[in-house]
Amino acid sequence: MTEPLLRADGLVKHFPVLRGVVFRRAVAEVHAVDGVSFEIAPGETFGVVGESGCGKTTVARLVMRLVDLDDGTLTSDGEDITRVRGEALRKLRLKMQIIFQDPFASLNPRMTVGDIVGEPLHIHNMWKDGGPRRVRELLDLVGLAAEHAERYPHEFSGGQRQRIGIARALALHPKLVVCDEPVSALDVSMRAQILNLLKHLQEEFGLTYLFISHDLSVVRQVCDRVAVMYLGQVVEVAERDALFDRALHPYTQALISAIPIPDPELERKRRRIVLQGDVPSPQDPPRACRFHTRCFKAQEICEQIEPELEQRCDDHPAACHFAEPRAPVVESPA
């Protein structure tokens, strides 16, 4: 692998649970992200999947330096960005941008679309150098018309708003774009359009995506490599096809077995793995392997020794003592 564009090493973020009105004290900690490591190569789309509350979005906010890390390091282009502040952090914004999940909340309702898309240019003193033209160009790029610049966000549909968010993220010519569930708030009909737009922009500008989603079908469509998260930890990382065809971790296998198959014949034959119980509270995650409380393969060792995220077969790390491929979800008709 070439020099990664972004390397995350052992990211940790715990949020305190506060009690009391006058004397606020931390009574517990939510282990939102607990030792997450990954590398993103230039030009690839790196997916992060997991159910709600597994820490995906916190990873996105950590990478964007919107919240401070408790532990771990972030390296971008060989430069340590874990603790950069002030001017250096502002410079970092030129390289990394984010597209938010909720297109209704991520645009300031009091600003015109032109002001929203042009704001990054104002902040980085790029406005005088053809700012209005750049705004027009960006709107055109994401499939909106230049006249839309004078309108307000509430005049647009969800899909169009997400396009505005994308235009804002692209204004500074970033290398890495963090996509935090960019399509999960959209109608299915809009999803494909936005995903195609993202793909098109990636080809045109050589963008690298950190693509966060809970939707395996979306991840399968857009990602080159995928990390699966469970309760604040990465349990498996693999190339897209390797993950979907030969998942090693029982949690990943359970997730994949739950993807509906459009063909009703095959759908009927689908062999689902149904996990028991709920996700344990991230305030008090299970000891050792965090998945052992729900795992269909759990043995005594899983409650005592935490499995390392280590290579199982060629470049396919999984954190499980009993990692091995499962028989296909549907028997091939042969």
């Binding site: 938010f100 902040i123 027009r136 018309a145 004078e150 647009f156 169009q160």
Partner: protein, 319 residues
């Protein structure tokens, strides 16, 4: 792909295009991108113009202000001139609004009184508005210890009885309009500070604030460009209410011996002096009361219009 987007237009956008078609040609021409930013205030102004009641109120307030400033031109008599043979005349020729117990012309006194009342009303509302907004913004935006500190200071000010301070101030300060504005401002900013803090606490968690941060916006920019515009509604309502309150409190000040002393008239002290005459000479109660009422109503309507004009989600065609 562009075709897909056009077909995905919301119905509202179609309606807005119709609304835009009613605008004069030059406005449409100016709606091009070259006007981004500078046009923001023009948009607010244009929206305010559509709010008839607000514009009428604005006109009345300007008129009241002009009359007060040029009181010596407009007033038919001096505010302290006594016509000893014409005490307690009811409204009629010669003295259009009647005279008071000392035979002074009521109309002239109202005109001169407007100077102080309007200056105190608007001065206190604006300066208390600025203090309250700044304190509330800082507390709500930064949170933590600064928030605790500022909010305890706010509580402290709320807990001091106004009258005690006024009596102390009366002995320490003179009674100029500026003194009154300063003393009253110190006691008018707390409710607004709490309101602004509250809306900032909720705005702070909004995704668009995080989005602004992720494109590199400074704290100052986030407060001024992203959070304040979204908190403008409650601020305007609170400031407009403060205008009325300040005009009335000013009369209490005079009563306590601080502030404007007789014979200089203010609407507040004219109202206070005429309390006992409400049955014998009711016009002495009516007219200062009506002046205060008119001012307060106009300020409230104007505030309403401003709030709507600042809110782009409001219906454009509001009358």
């Amino acid at each position: 792909m562009t075709d897909d987007i056009k077909s995905a237009h919301h119905p509202e956008i179609g309606e807005l295009e119709i609304a835009a078609a009613e605008l004069p040609d030059d406005t449409l021409a100016r709606m091009g991108l070259d006007a981004v930013g500078a046009s923001q205030w023009r948009i607010v102004w244009r929206r305010l113009l559509r709010h008839r009641l607000a514009i009428a109120s604005f006109g009345i307030l300007v008129l009241l202000g002009v009359i007060a400033v040029f009181a010596n031109v407009f007033a038919p008599h001096g505010y302290a001139t006594q016509y000893l043979s014409q005490q307690l005349r009811s409204p009629g020729a010669g003295h259009w609004l009647g005279t008071d117990t000392l035979g002074r012309d009521e109309l002239s006194r109202l005109i001169y009184g407007g100077r102080i009342s309007l200056a105190v009303g608007f001065g206190v509302a604006l300066s208390a508005g600025v203090i309250g907004t700044i304190v509330g913004s800082l507390a709500g935006f930064y949170g933590g210890r600064l928030d605790t500190l500022l909010m305890r200071v706010t509580d402290l000010f709320l807990s001091i009885p106004l009258l005690v301070i006024l009596i102390v101030a009366a002995t320490l300060l003179g009674g100029s309009v500026l003194d009154i504005v300063i003393v009253l401002s110190i006691f008018f900013w707390m409710p607004l500070a709490r309101i602004v803090r509250g809306s900032f606490l909720s705005l702070r968690e909004k995704e668009f604030v995080e989005a602004a941060r992720s494109v590199g916006a400074s704290n100052f920019r986030i407060i001024v460009r992203h959070m304040l515009p979204n908190a403008i509604g409650p601020i305007i309502v609170n400031v407009t209410l403060a205008v009325a309150e300040a005009i009335l409190i000013e009369s209490v000040l005079s009563f306590l011996g601080f502030g404007i002393q007789p014979p200089t008239p203010t609407w507040g002290n004219m109202l206070a002096e005429s309390r006992d005459l409400a049955t014998t000479a009711p016009w002495l109660v009516w007219f200062p009361g009506l002046c205060i009422l008119l001012t307060v109503l106009c300020v409230n309507f104007l505030g309403d219009g401003l709030r709507d004009a600042f809110d782009p989600t409001q219906d454009l065609i509001k009358r």
